[in-house]
Symmetry: C2
Subunit: 427 residues, 2 copies
């Protein structure tokens, strides 16, 4: 890869140095003060709805001129109601407990030293994301609550929206006596600016990419700053031979169709051969009835044909694909071992569900599947910070280091050991 | 950087695939079985002392022929007693609690879903380290106890020793009915083999480098596999104006001299100007008396001159240097703010100690210093898994992600969310 331009490196270094200063100040704020500031930001957004919507209209205008599909326009769009909802999300964050200062563990050692491991902010957290401008506010709010300065890098499609959202928040921070560099925007500079951010080692403590698989892979592979990989989800529903088929049907349809564009939607259905003839005609019919395009393996195709359900023959590539849309691959397996092997081959380590009434099968699934979340008799859609009761979510980690699964405020912190003695020396 | 050779990539991929198969088997072993196997490995090493010592003699012979310094020869040397001690360390690991299966948190959601976050093995853990062959056995033992397969890459200086140690352990695993690929050795292949290991993304779950700063930086900067950075330590002792100077003296000398070659030894002494005239003559005299070479700033140099203690004038570079030997930089600061700023500039985020009887100063230090461990009135040498009561240590993390400070068995695990329902779907 070519060298990063010195200008991009200097721009990011200057931005990050300011963020570091702000982060040191944020780390010292009390919970009460942070919550007050978050509510102040929400009020500022409420007062700036017209300004935000106008900036968003510029982005939408540019998008329409460039032929942006309606679904992407919808992701990008900020109506007055959506801006108000984004502000309310900040008030919700204010109401959550503060992770900073939590004592994770501690003890008094035999020699009398008192040690405790305490949650502290990471420092400077970079977010690289795509066209959803609500992420701009969410990330700033979660960062502030957890005592971190954030550097935001949104997609160029939302540039005007993000600029105004950040301006409004920074103005509010200043008015509230908080260093506005707590919320930094890396604006413009193209791909070189992103690369400079990914390699700002020692200046940026953590990078979280949110968006499509290409974005995330690029950040993971090219960063020297520590990264948390999020949201790659090739999730399966496995219907075991001991499944309650009514539950299996509800879970399959819900996992696929309740919100097909998100990472915890199921992309693939595996059915034990012993129940395939009974389960699949109904399941395929219901899925097709919910407008799901079916990619079926040989045995499932035969059942689809008999049931008069339209299908395409699945390739290996289909089983490897995250559709993020109303498409699903379907396979018949001869055993739970075959299902486990299939998930090992094609799964992305996000969420894997089994439907079974057999305790032994459930135990094997939860023990042997290597994923952030394993479900027994529940929809894959439950892997979610809000559903888990975290109250907020900055992403769903599909890596094993630091955080795995839904990430909320505690995952935006690190820890520090505080050791107190009375002149203790090591013998 | 040049491309990695296809041979190196293929060798590492083949090795790692075998490790992955072994890791899946290890993840299912009970604690009782793992402990039995660990004790079996210890017995096997006891029976192989002569064979290990003979292989180690080959390494030493090659080292001496190449002009290896005596201190490095000593690190490399395996006497019968040391091999026995390495075996005993495995028995100690067997006696530690098993982190796998520990429920970190859990709850029943409002809808009746039962969720719990459970510790599970990482999978395949790679260790890249230098000439200490005891790390080979320690890493294998800690890996096995935490349910991980390990891929070991030791320094070429210890090649014969490592080969025999791994052979002995793999033979013992086979004899005990365990897949010997639980302990893999990446032998030979030069730097290309290491690079292939660092980029074996998806095959290796975690890399831990142990050794000098150059090794660690190289691994951190060139890996696409998740890495935990360990053991860079530019540690300070700050003697506050409110310090008990007797405690300060004991802590300073202990932090510097108790074991100067390790990462938690202090490299730098900062003294508040108000106590410098009283404290430094005695401290510098005692340090010099313990054979410590002193690199003093202007004010400390004046005090050293008056006290008749030999010194060299410290450069900025001295304050940035981890000596890992009997050398120390010494500076006089005008305030705790200046000490904090100095630590921010030169510290490596490992261990930073204050000596003070002033609660406010201690509180500022523990709150504002950004490091894995902050000490109040205690030697920097206490940042250690053994001292903290962890019973074992695989390294000291100086990064903020996943683990910070001494890392033991829990840090070699990740977690998995297990979600159990009864046909639950998301509304």
């Amino acid at each position: 890869m070519s060298e990063i331009s010195p200008e991009a490196t200097a721009t990011v270094a200057e931005l990050a140095q300011k963020s570091r200063v702000a982060a040191r100040e944020l780390a010292l704020l009390s919970r009460a003060r942070k919550d007050e500031v978050l509510r102040g930001l929400a009020d500022a957004l409420d007062s700036a709805i017209a300004r935000v919507v106008a900036a968003n209209e510029e982005d939408l205008e540019r998008g329409r001129a460039g032929g942006m599909p309606e679904s992407l326009q919808d992701r990008l769009r900020l109506t007055p109601e959506r801006v108000a909802a984004v502000g309310d999300a900040l008030r919700d964050i204010a109401a959550l407990p503060d992770p900073v200062g939590e004592i994770v563990r501690g003890s008094t050692l035999a020699n009398g030293l008192q040690i405790r491991q305490v949650r502290v902010p990471m420092g400077v957290v970079g977010m690289i994301y795509e066209a959803r401008p609500n992420v701009t506010v969410d990330a700033a709010g979660l960062g502030l609550k957890s005592g971190n300065a954030v550097i935001l890098r949104g997609g160029s499609a939302a540039a005007s929206s993000n600029r105004v959202l950040v301006d409004v928040m920074r103005e509010s921070l200043s008015a509230q006596g908080i260093n506005p560099d707590a919320i930094g925007l890396l604006d413009g500079g193209g791909h070189d600016a992103v690369r400079a951010l990914m390699t700002a080692r020692g200046l940026v403590d953590l990078l979280i990419p949110r968006g499509g698989a290409d974005l995330i892979q690029s950040v993971v592979l090219n960063s020297t700053v520590p990264v948390i990989e999020t949201g790659i989800g090739n999730c399966h529903v496995y219907v075991d031979r001991a499944a309650d088929l009514d539950k299996a049907l509800a879970i399959t349809v819900n996992s696929k169709t309740q919100r097909p564009s998100v990472c915890n939607a199921a992309e693939s259905l595996l059915v034990h051969a012993e129940v395939a003839d009974e389960f699949l005609p109904k399941a395929l019919t219901d899925l097709a009835g919910a407008s799901v395009t079916l990619h079926t393996d040989e045995r499932a195709s035969a059942i689809a044909t008999a049931a008069g359900v339209p299908f395409a023959v699945a390739t290996q590539q289909d089983f490897a694909t995250e559709y993020h849309s109303l498409e699903m691959s379907v396979g018949v397996v001869d055993s739970i071992d075959a299902a486990l092997e299939h998930v090992r081959t094609f799964g992305s380590g996000h969420t894997e569900a089994i439907v079974t009434e057999d305790r032994a099968a459930a135990r094997r699934w939860t023990t042997e599947v290597d994923a952030a979340a394993v479900m027994v008799n529940a929809s894959t859609r439950f892997t979610d910070g809000g559903e888990f009761g975290f109250g907020a979510e900055i992403g769903i980690s599909t890596q094993k280091l630091h955080a795995r699964g839904p990430m909320a405020l505690p995952e935006l912190t690190t820890t520090k050991w505080i050791v107190e003695g009375d002149g203790h020396v090591r013998i």
